[in-house]
Symmetry: C2
Subunit: 500 residues, 2 copies
Amino acid sequence: MYDVQVVSPLNYFAFTPLLPSVTCGTVEARSIVEPVRNIIKKRKGEIQFWEAECIKLDAKNKQVICRSNINNNLVGNGEFHLEYDYLVMAVGAQVNTFNTPGVLENCYFLKEVEDAQKIRRGVIDCFEKAILPGLTEEERRTNLHFVIVGGGPTGVEFAAELHDYFQEDLVNLYPSVKDLVKITLIQSGDHILNMFDERISSFAEQKFTRDGIDVQTGCRVVSVSDKEISMKMKSKGEVFSIPHGLVVWSTGVGTRPVVKDFMEQIGQGKRRILATDEWLRVKGCEDVYAIGDCATIDQRKIMEDIASIFEAADVDKSGTLTIKEFKDVMDDIIIRYPQVELYLKNQHLGDVTDLFKDSEGNYRPEVDIEQFKLALSHVDSQTKNLPATAQVAAQQGTYLSRCFNRRNECKNNPEGPRRFRGRGHHQFLPFQYKHFGQFAPLGGEQAAAELPGDWVSMGHSTQWLWYSVYASKQVSWRTRVLVVSDWTRRFIFGRDSSGI
Amino acid sequence: MYDVQVVSPLNYFAFTPLLPSVTCGTVEARSIVEPVRNIIKKRKGEIQFWEAECIKLDAKNKQVICRSNINNNLVGNGEFHLEYDYLVMAVGAQVNTFNTPGVLENCYFLKEVEDAQKIRRGVIDCFEKAILPGLTEEERRTNLHFVIVGGGPTGVEFAAELHDYFQEDLVNLYPSVKDLVKITLIQSGDHILNMFDERISSFAEQKFTRDGIDVQTGCRVVSVSDKEISMKMKSKGEVFSIPHGLVVWSTGVGTRPVVKDFMEQIGQGKRRILATDEWLRVKGCEDVYAIGDCATIDQRKIMEDIASIFEAADVDKSGTLTIKEFKDVMDDIIIRYPQVELYLKNQHLGDVTDLFKDSEGNYRPEVDIEQFKLALSHVDSQTKNLPATAQVAAQQGTYLSRCFNRRNECKNNPEGPRRFRGRGHHQFLPFQYKHFGQFAPLGGEQAAAELPGDWVSMGHSTQWLWYSVYASKQVSWRTRVLVVSDWTRRFIFGRDSSGI
């Protein structure tokens, strides 16, 4: 039985994948949040929650220093510290402006529920201001120019939501300015949604072009002022500025100061993101784990351990590996170094033994260490960082809680792969991410999706799939009912345009 | 056909009678608001809406000076002026602190939707702060002490909502501090709900006592600091202070600066509230009307016109009035001076002719001017100001729009009562308020109500009546559906305690 203490500056858990829907009121902010205390109440055991900001992690003394961020005049010292045996960091990431001047001051973001609420109010403000008497047409156009920086799933979904909001709702309420609205999506890469399959990218680009959304690819934003946004065309190197009414910055993931400070303490000061091993243990620090966007898994390279692997596999100490000897360790290798499986798949190799073929395609009966190195030399290039998505974070959370709950059990009967550089087995299987696919809603009741097994699906039916998947993924029955009734309400009454 | 222009600093209309329900999340803020543009769209004719604050009324040049209150960096001059032929003021009232020090800085209010949202967040903040480690029990108690100033319907309903919120929802989420919560209701009068029937007052007081809500009557608040509230017991004159976590100021109606400035211009500078005549025309200013909480009807006293009435009624110029002569003008008198009817009712006089009785109860055949004055001398004491409720404002709005739409029709065929001090008839009937009763929800699914015909109703069934009346009074079908589904959601899932 663990004594669990949860610290968070927000007393609710937000289902962030629906944040873009909140920006235009398709879904209400409250429908995607569940109070942490509600979630805790349903679990067995002693769990306590404190609404406070974690301001410092003290790895040496194993304690967390917290401060209440309630800013009114309530009495009592809001600062306290908690001691821990095990610490799980799941503080997420913050916006990364890449030090672009003016971004923090002049852009909206899409990280928190409050950000989405601010955008919603901001969009209506733009319309109410643009329609007032006494403005020139140019001024109206400027106020109704919505710029989105970042062509990833969030930026694209927000652009699509915004376009639907205009076309389906606002056009009837602000008829005199309806022809002055413009949406620009700025992407530094050559295509939007470039983490998706090419077919999805081009489908999205075509749909946006038809919708009149201006997609500027190959553009890097160099500064944002209160009135203008300046960018550089990568191809020509020329810098130009356009006036804007509202800019949403939806790109980049940055490390929070408290994590940065912690990294200094544990010797990761030179890294950009906190590193964990494959068991989600923070490197360089005992009993600290990290999941979600605040950390990244530093996958061990197979080439670093190649000599140990060879030695461990070479049971008869002959200095060469037979296919049988190799096969005996292969399962452990694939679990410990998942890049091997990815490599086999990408090279269209049916079986690991194919690695034993020589350049002419014939099986070698035995390989020596140099040949073994050569055969695996390209494997590590397949190592990939996991995306900063809720899907990854949720799986990591589940994985870690399972490990904690099987700690005693697995101490005696380790379930992990064999240790090549030591003895025995690892206590747990390393974390393995299962990609169940990813959606990109594109507006007009259409969506694109990458599904398991390299399936790609696009169009109206995909949007319905999106509805059902997102409804099923809600944290509680309460939010599920709320989200579905929000969608229904939107179908019947449209989106609300009150400036609150 | 009128060219209608609507100016408001908020682009939505809020159904304010449900504001107390928003403070605890029984109803969501968005469920009680309807965008002004939605309301306009459903009406025929040219109506334009501008989201701006009216910063000055210029009665002499017949124009309104407006300024957009959108504070971000959108381009364009947000200041403009509108010229009018007719002006209808419906700007409402602002909070009145009676110059009590510290109220503006340290209290929450309940006038606007945003006020209710702030209270909701504030209540949760108190709980989250009170439960943190390292506070003394005294500090926890202070943070969980909720004070409401004002024992009117709003204050009482809020106290009841808050009590329900604790008992039904928060008690399960914050079990360790549940015994430290205290609600205090401060009322300067001797009873809460003193505008209601006595039976309702005492029912409410008894229910609150059973619920553990501390009702402090006969107490006047003298100052509020960030940590304490000081008050004076009227009976003993002693001043004492109590520490608080949150204070809601729910008493007093004050005049907005723009109205105050306008009153100076038109010679009403010495009054506290803008005065209109019985046709809702602002006194001292042509073509300006005022409805709702921003003005009050200055009912003409019958004694001011008594000589003219006598003269007009005395058709044969005999110097005395016969009963028949009096009866002929009585209908016009009752319409012009509604206090007469109220007087007859309160004196239990069945008929106006009863006024002609002498002290022994016998009818006088005729009365002279002095006897006539005497008979009516107490009538004006029945003149009452209308309450500052949505019910009054809504009826005034309907009345005024009907007048505007019948302007030409009634020019030729005036519908109003006869003019005693001039010739002919008034163009329109004066505004007459119909009181349909008033509710006071008391928590725990109980309510009290004053219904037409001096009926009083209390208990659970009254709460269900409240639900049906409030559902039916919603501005649109959309908000009606939202409010009812919010109630349903509350029954099923309880109230949300997320701090957003």
